[in-house]
């Protein structure tokens, strides 16, 4: 799933490892989520949204808007 995680991370000048530590996940998870190859679980998606003080739909784009 497309997402703005890389941009949000860059804004805070965090490395993938730092973001991984904030979320208590492996660095590989962050990489796979950023490249859109892995969709995080709902709890992890909420944790990401909470960390960046936004809503899940502000960060993840399920491309529904394109279909409309």
């Amino acid at each position: 799933m497309k997402n703005r995680l890389r941009v949000l991370r860059a804004e805070r000048r965090w490395s993938q490892a730092v973001l991984a530590q904030h979320l208590d996940v492996s660095r590989q998870s962050i990489n796979a989520i950023e490249t859109g190859k892995y969709d995080p679980s709902l709890p992890l998606a909420f944790a990401i949204a909470r960390l960046f003080e936004g809503r899940i739909e502000d960060i993840f784009d399920d491309e529904l808007e394109k279909q409309e």
């Binding site: 490892a17 991984a20 530590q21 208590d24 996940v25 492996s26 660095r27 590989q28 998870s29 990489n31 796979a32 490249t35 190859k37 892995y38 995080p40 679980s41 992890l44």
Partner: protein
């Protein structure tokens, strides 16, 4: 490959080499000298000690791996897995060696031999249980869990596939008998081999 990784694999290879050399020496030694049962058992069991060094080695590696900055809470399932694996391996080695030497030394009835066979296989169930518990552990990183789950499925599927191919090779083309217990070894070997490929798909 980083220096850390190279060192880890070299230490790993060293431990396995030490095991093989010591086990070979034990074979030569027990064949030459006619030892009592307990002593020849000891001669076979002692060389397996380096194998258990794999556990602290792996723990140390995963703990300091800069690529895997896992918190203590994420390391706990790995520790539990290593302990379960170590206990199972310990019993496997002891029971296997005891069975081999007992079969070699004593005239046993078929019932006792069957009992020894089942007893030897029991710790393998423990190893499978340890892997299953690791995957089911809620403290395991969800991405890592997905990689492991996919690897288990892929290696099981490949094992069945190879078993089917070999079965037909035996029936049609007089291929040598494949010892069934080695299926477990093939399965765990494939589990290790497919993981990098499964991982690559998510880069």
């Amino acid at each position: 490959m980083t220096a850390r990784k190279r060192l880890f694999f070299m230490q790993l290879a060293g431990l396995i080499l030490a095991f093989l050399v010591l086990e070979w020496l034990a074979g030569v030694f027990t064949a030459r000298a006619s030892l009592p049962y307990a002593l020849s058992l000891l001669a076979y069991i002692l060389p397996t000690l380096p194998l258990f060094g794999i556990i602290p080695l792996s723990l140390n590696y995963t703990n300091n791996n800069p690529d895997l900055p896992l918190s203590a809470h994420r390391m706990a399932p790995v520790r539990r897995y290593m302990v379960r694996m170590g206990v199972s391996m310990f019993f496997y080695v002891i029971i296997l060696m005891a069975s081999i030497v007992a079969l070699d030394r004593f005239e046993l009835s078929v019932q006792i031999k069957a009992l020894l066979a089942v007893l030897t296989a029991l710790p393998i169930g423990g190893i499978i249980w340890a892997v299953s518990r690791l995957i089911a552990d809620p403290d395991v990183d969800e991405f890592e869990r997905m990689i492991m789950t996919r690897s288990v499925m892929a290696s099981a599927a490949l094992t069945f596939f190879f078993a089917a191919i070999w079965g037909f090779l035996e029936n049609f083309a007089e291929a040598p008998d494949f010892p069934l217990y080695l299926v477990v070894v093939v399965y765990f070997g494939l589990f290790g081999l497919v993981q990098p490929f499964v991982r690559r798909g998510f880069r």
